[in-house]
């Protein structure tokens, strides 16, 4: 399978703030009308008392890099995305993040032998508490895998 020796390897922890301006720009980019992402007054009335980040906002974060993992720059297919939260993300909070190649497996399809890579991106608070986990399946087509050294 692809990248077999990298399975279960993780990136180093990367720390960053959930930036208020970045949350606002993300909400504007998808025309999300909810004031909870932009309006401090409206956000103060929600149960968290602060502006929260959008559902898929964690995709914009840097998660560091897995040593030795060189994905092809083009042609990858995003197969699946899922995310689970312990609580919403709040603006101005600092999160520690990392990613891991959880699994790699092959699948025969009508279009040839596909390589499937399962990545997990996680965010935790400064006390080490888990805040979210996002899981992606990335599909490597047969044509693309010829160029990859496994």
């Amino acid at each position: 399978v692809l990248y077999e020796r990298l399975v279960e390897l993780r990136s180093e922890l990367v720390g960053n703030l959930v930036e208020r301006g970045a949350v606002r720009r993300f909400a504007e980019a998808i025309d999300d009308p909810s004031p909870l992402y932009v309006d401090e007054g409206a956000a103060a009335r929600n149960r968290y008392g602060r502006i929260v980040a959008l559902l898929t906002f964690p995709r914009t974060f840097d998660y560091g890099r897995i040593e030795g993992l060189e994905l092809p720059p083009a042609g990858l297919i995003h197969g699946e995305f899922r995310i689970a939260y312990e609580r919403p993300l709040l603006v101005d909070e600092e999160l520690l993040r990392r990613m891991e190649l959880k699994a790699s497996y092959d699948k025969q399809s009508r279009r040839g032998l596909l390589g499937l890579l399962a990545f997990e991106r996680t965010g935790e608070g400064l006390q080490g508490e888990s805040v979210f986990a996002a899981n992606d399946i990335v599909v490597v087509t047969e044509a693309l895998r010829r160029g990859i050294e496994v």
Binding site: R47, L54, I77, E80, F81, R82, Y85, R87, P88
Partner: protein
């Protein structure tokens, strides 16, 4: 005051109609998300990749699915969300509508199974 939601299994969330994906949307989303893969932004790059035109970021489609929940977010937050990509959204396609159907209740939350419905003529 926050009113309690009274959802039952089988209820549908209100559908949400989106405007067609245009180039400005792709550029704005690229800037907001950091997703600058040229197949979303540059005609030649899409052509080289064998696509009929620029395609939308998969995660842009997922982000807009989240719009279904905006009327309810004062009551809580989306705890889990799962999506599979079944096809590409092209810049030339007409608008599409999304609707959700709640399937199952789970400890005070609700599992929402989302269906993507292409608008007539799409």
């Amino acid at each position: 005051l926050i009113e309690a939601l009274s959802w039952a299994v089988g209820d549908e969330l209100e559908g949400h109609t989106l405007p067609p994906v245009d180039r400005m949307r792709l550029i704005t989303y690229a800037g907001a998300s950091g997703g600058f893969n040229p197949i979303h932004l540059v005609d030649e790059a899409a052509k080289e990749a064998g696509l009929p035109g620029n395609i939308a970021h998969g995660m842009l489609t997922v982000a807009t699915m989240g719009l279904l929940f905006f009327p309810y977010l004062e009551h809580g937050y989306v705890k889990g969300f799962r999506s599979r990509f079944l096809g590409m959204v092209s810049r030339r396609r007409p608008s599409r509508r999304r609707s959700g159907e709640r399937r199952k209740r789970d400890r005070g939350g609700a599992i929402v199974r989302l269906r993507r419905v292409r608008a007539a003529g799409g």
